[in-house]
């Protein structure tokens, strides 16, 4: 049985391909895991210029209520500017910000087919020999994102440019406000961490960088040789301190219980790879501040996910699982980073 979105999606794409005929969408299916966007894969076929085209594409549509509320244009542009660079990303095709076509805003991209994203699979044993290679690629790519010039990429019209000495405050203010609006119960551990962060601010950012915002094991596509073919989930991308991005992957919940950064290599090794690729130095005290900040940010996301379910905006199980699995683990991560566990 065909998916009810298929004819509507075909009609939309036909409107974007005025020289095409016989535009058809098939095999549309939702991919599990996306909590901040509904993600579907599908096949598009059409005839154009005497040729039949058959393409594997991805649809990313806003859900009724999200784990993370962000502008899809920012995400779309972040992907678009890195396409064709040393930072592998899928090619963006169309962005639709109106609600008419598919009820919610969405974008369509090429699918990077044939690769894996699952951390569970990566750590199940079959990839053990290539984990150092994955780590090398992971932090090299992150270093290249840090090295990139946001102005030169053309991102400043869609992403706010904070002053170098205020990047930390903007982020902390944003995530503290999430606690104020979304927490379903008091969060004494996260609140203590926020007080500590405000009392011990980091030095100004060494440069203003593109911050992916969710660069962790699970958000890139890998193969059996340990190569990374795509960096995904740019919905929290913004401009800020490059240490913020490095530190997100050092949030202890992303060790997946393996005691290694990202479940892959010791943290020192990851920093070494990143420093070489970015040309930047990771000051240990500043990095510690950003790791603790990212533990607070993580908790803000899990708190927001629970809130979306409680308020009824999104009652899907994917909104519950991160909250149940990670709210307490994130508290323990905060205690660990603060030397209290």
């Amino acid at each position: 049985m065909s998916h009810p979105l298929e004819p509507r999606l075909a009609a939309y794409i036909a409107s974007r391909l005025p020289n095409a005929s016989e535009v058809a969408v098939s095999a549309l299916e939702r991919i599990s895991g996306g909590a901040s966007r509904e993600t579907y894969r599908f096949r598009l076929s059409y005839r154009e210029g005497g040729q039949v085209h058959d393409r594997k594409l991805i649809l990313r549509r806003d859900p009724p209520a999200s784990l993370i509320d962000t502008e899809r244009r920012v995400e779309f542009e972040a992907y678009r500017v890195f396409h064709g660079s040393s930072v592998p990303v899928p090619k963006m095709l169309w962005l639709e910000e109106a609600h008419d076509a598919l009820d919610h805003p969405f974008f369509i991209a090429e699918e990077l087919a044939g690769f894996q994203a699952s951390p569970q699979l990566l750590f199940a044993g079959g990839y053990e020999a290539v984990l150092p290679k994955v780590a090398e690629r992971k932090w090299t790519i992150l270093g290249e994102i840090a090295r990139a010039d946001p102005e030169g990429l053309g991102l400043t019209p869609v992403m706010e440019k904070p002053p170098l000495d205020a990047a930390w405050r903007r982020e902390l203010d944003h995530w503290e406000a999430i606690f104020d609006s979304d927490e379903a119960e008091p969060q004494p551990i996260a609140r203590a961490a926020i007080r500590w962060l405000r009392a011990h601010p980091p030095p100004p950012a060494r440069k203003l960088s593109v911050v992916h915002g969710d660069f962790r094991t699970g958000n890139f596509l890998y193969d059996e040789a340990g190569e990374i073919h795509g960096v995904l989930d740019w919905e929290m991308a913004h401009l800020g301190d490059p240490l913020e991005d490095l530190a997100w992957g050092f949030n202890p919940v992303w060790e997946f219980g393996r005691g290694l950064a990202g479940g892959l290599v010791p943290q020192d090794r990851a920093v070494q790879i990143w420093e070489r690729a970015s040309g930047l130095k990771a000051d240990p005290a500043a990095l510690h501040w950003w790791i603790l900040f990212n533990c607070v940010k993580g908790q803000g996301i899990w708190v927001g996910s629970a809130r979306a379910f409680i308020d009824g905006g999104n009652r899907e199980p994917i909104m519950v699982y991160p909250a149940w699995w990670l709210l307490n683990a994130q508290d323990r991560a905060i205690l660990k980073v603060m030397g209290r566990l």
Binding site: M1, H3, L28, E29, R30, I31, S32, A184, E185, P186, P188, I189, R191, A192, R195, P252, V253, W254, E255, F256, G257, A306, F309, I310, R315, E316, P317, I318, V320, Y321, A323, W324, W325, L326, L327, N328, A329, Q330, D331, R332, A333, L335, K336, R340, L341
Partner: protein, 128 residues
């Protein structure tokens, strides 16, 4: 002490299971919904037996720390959770006061309780 609370999630899962029994649901979506539901049911099963005891223990520990009295007028989980939220809100205030007073002993006592609170809530699948 799971948030969202377990009854509201179980109720939602009951509806989801019925919806996914319909033949027109795409196979991949059904597999995804049922897989995630299965993981949630496993977590609910894990916390079920100890939930009331953990809340009562924690509320009593917080009451001692805060020189308060933990209400046990109702032993429903919802009532114990509401009392827990009241006491943890007071704990935040006490923590701020201890920091301002540079009362290291008081701060350490609060951190010890916060540490213990994460042990009570720790799941078998916890990554930390």
């Amino acid at each position: 002490m799971m948030t969202p609370d377990v009854p509201s999630v179980l109720s939602e899962l009951a509806g989801l299971l019925v919806r996914n029994a319909a033949p027109e649901v795409p196979d991949a979506e059904r597999a995804s919904a049922l897989g995630l539901s299965s993981m949630l049911l496993a977590l609910a099963a894990e916390v079920w037996d100890g939930a009331a005891e953990n809340l009562i223990q924690e509320n009593r520990a917080l009451a001692v720390l805060l020189d308060d009295k933990a209400s046990e007028a109702s032993l429903r989980l919802s009532a114990l959770r509401a009392e827990n939220a009241r006491l943890r809100a007071r704990l935040i205030q006490a923590h701020v006061a201890a920091e301002r007073a540079a009362d290291a002993a008081r701060e350490e006592a609060i951190w010890a309780e916060l540490r213990a609170s994460t042990e009570r809530r720790k799941l078998s699948v916890s990554p930390v």
